[in-house]
């Protein structure tokens, strides 16, 4: 890892290997979730990013790339980063993100939505819950497809075999439906639930929905800009053997 002497790109701070891991979290609390998904626990004292990553066998460039992409919307992986991307660790990160969505984010949103539905009339409540169930089902289906088809395929590639006819090219943008329904849900809650003194509840639900949307967008970005180009390289190298 080349130490960068520049601390910012386009006015955004840049995280680097020699900084204290603790400062990384102070700078952006969303990095906390990145560490968790990469399998790095808290309690690292004064250790630097480099030292902590070494201890837990996490690729420090990957961690820094993800954290830097989180804070800087315009930052995308460079060719060199794609070429030496630790695919298994990326897959681990993405799988852990899925777990977070399924076990934490969606249940939290469901709980709040259910509470909000209870403040509405029975019909309205039922309609809300029904829509959310439909949306949740779609998200689960999408994540399951990645977990059961896409990621195993990539792992297969890594073991130098290519048995299935699947190609990462087919892994086109299947996020579209999920994004549409999430926007719909936000609009319904912002604009069309009648005022019934459930403001706090509604605000809380919206914050969760916005956070979830943001997280999903980052997830998609890493898949499209890091995972897919990396796997394309891998597929090409295998087919040329």
């Amino acid at each position: 890892m080349v130490t960068t002497s520049k601390y910012t790109i386009n006015h955004y701070p840049v995280f680097f290997a020699q900084m204290k891991m603790a400062d990384l979290i102070h700078a952006n609390s969303k990095n906390l979730e990145v560490l968790k998904r990469l399998g790095i626990p808290l309690g690292f004292g004064e250790k630097t990013v480099e030292e902590v990553c070494q201890k837990y066998s996490v690729d420090e460039d990957l961690l820094l790339l993800i954290c830097n992409m989180l804070i800087n919307n315009d930052l995308l992986p460079e060719q060199e980063q794609i070429e030496r991307c630790p695919i298994l660790q990326v897959l681990h990160f993405l799988t852990q993100s899925h777990q977070y969505y399924l076990q934490v984010a969606l249940p939290n949103i469901h709980k709040l939505l259910d509470a909000l539905a209870n403040t509405c009339s029975e019909t309205h409540g039922k309609a809300l819950n029904r829509f959310f169930d439909e949306y949740r089902h779609e998200v689960e289906k999408h994540l399951a497809h990645e977990d059961q088809v896409v990621y195993p395929y990539i792992k297969q590639l890594l073991s130098q075999s290519r048995k299935s006819k699947f190609s990462i090219q087919q892994f086109k943008d299947k996020h579209a439906n999920i994004e549409i329904k999430l926007t719909d849900l936000k609009n319904i809650i912002i604009k069309y639930i009648p005022d019934n003194n459930s403001d706090r509840l509604r605000d809380e639900l919206l914050v969760q929905l916005f956070n979830f949307e943001d997280d999903l967008n980052r997830h998609t970005l890493i898949e499209e800009k890091l995972l897919v180009p990396t796997v394309l390289l891998l597929e090409n190298s295998l087919s040329s053997i």
């Binding site: 019909t123 309609a127 029904r130 439909e134 549409i180 719909d184 319904i188 604009k191």
Partner: protein, 202 residues
């Protein structure tokens, strides 16, 4: 507003008389901030022309339309609220018809008056017109109800006596106004606004 790349407001004229349209075009040439993008001879397929020309302002004489069209100009042609309507008047027109327009220019207006009237739409009336029209119209609510009941575009067109093209245009406006794209999302909207009952969807 669409605005031209140059930042000019795009003006579309509907005028059957060559004398009038030539005169209008000549006056428009030297006016800053406005650009005449086209001249239609009548209101046939006006909606499609609006998609092609992307006008910010439509200028026309209300009398070139049939009486029926004249009464509810905006909703009849399903014009989005971003498009301002300007009446070009050269004979007596009922006040209540003119009330539908964002500005009125007369055949005797000089270049300065024309420029002022067209340029000022933006600042006052244009904005209020935009806000008022963001609510779904009665018609849009009816179409929305048909959509969530699962009717196809063709069925909706037949049921409401409109063209499929108009159905699609209503759909676009409904999505733009509500911000809801999925049919199941629109269903929730319809329920929350009591357009349908829960039994309708079970």
């Amino acid at each position: 507003m669409h605005l031209d790349k140059t930042g000019d407001k795009r003006v579309l004229l509907i005028e059957p008389s060559l004398m009038v349209s030539k005169g209008f075009a000549t006056l428009m040439e030297d006016i800053n901030g406005l650009k005449l993008v086209g001249n239609l001879l009548n209101v046939n397929r006006l909606q499609e022309h609006c998609i092609t020309y992307r006008p910010d302002v439509l200028v026309f004489n209300p009398l070139i339309m049939s009486f029926q069209h004249r009464t509810f100009i905006r909703s009849f042609f399903n014009l989005p609220p971003e498009i301002a309507l300007v009446a070009l008047v050269y004979s007596f027109v009922d006040e209540w018809i003119l009330a539908q327009f964002d500005a009125v220019i007369t055949i005797n207006d000089d270049q300065t008056q024309l420029s002022n009237k067209l340029n000022n739409i933006n600042s006052v009336k244009f904005k209020t017109a935009q806000q008022e029209n963001e609510e779904l119209s009665e018609r849009e609510n009816e179409i929305l109800t048909s959509i969530v009941k699962g009717l196809t575009n063709k069925e909706i067109a037949e049921k409401h006596f409109i063209s499929i093209h108009t159905v699609i245009s209503h759909r676009k406006n409904i999505i733009r106004k509500t911000g809801i794209k999925s049919v199941s999302g629109l269903t929730v909207y319809a329920l929350l606004n009591n357009l349908i009952s829960y039994e309708d969807i079970e």
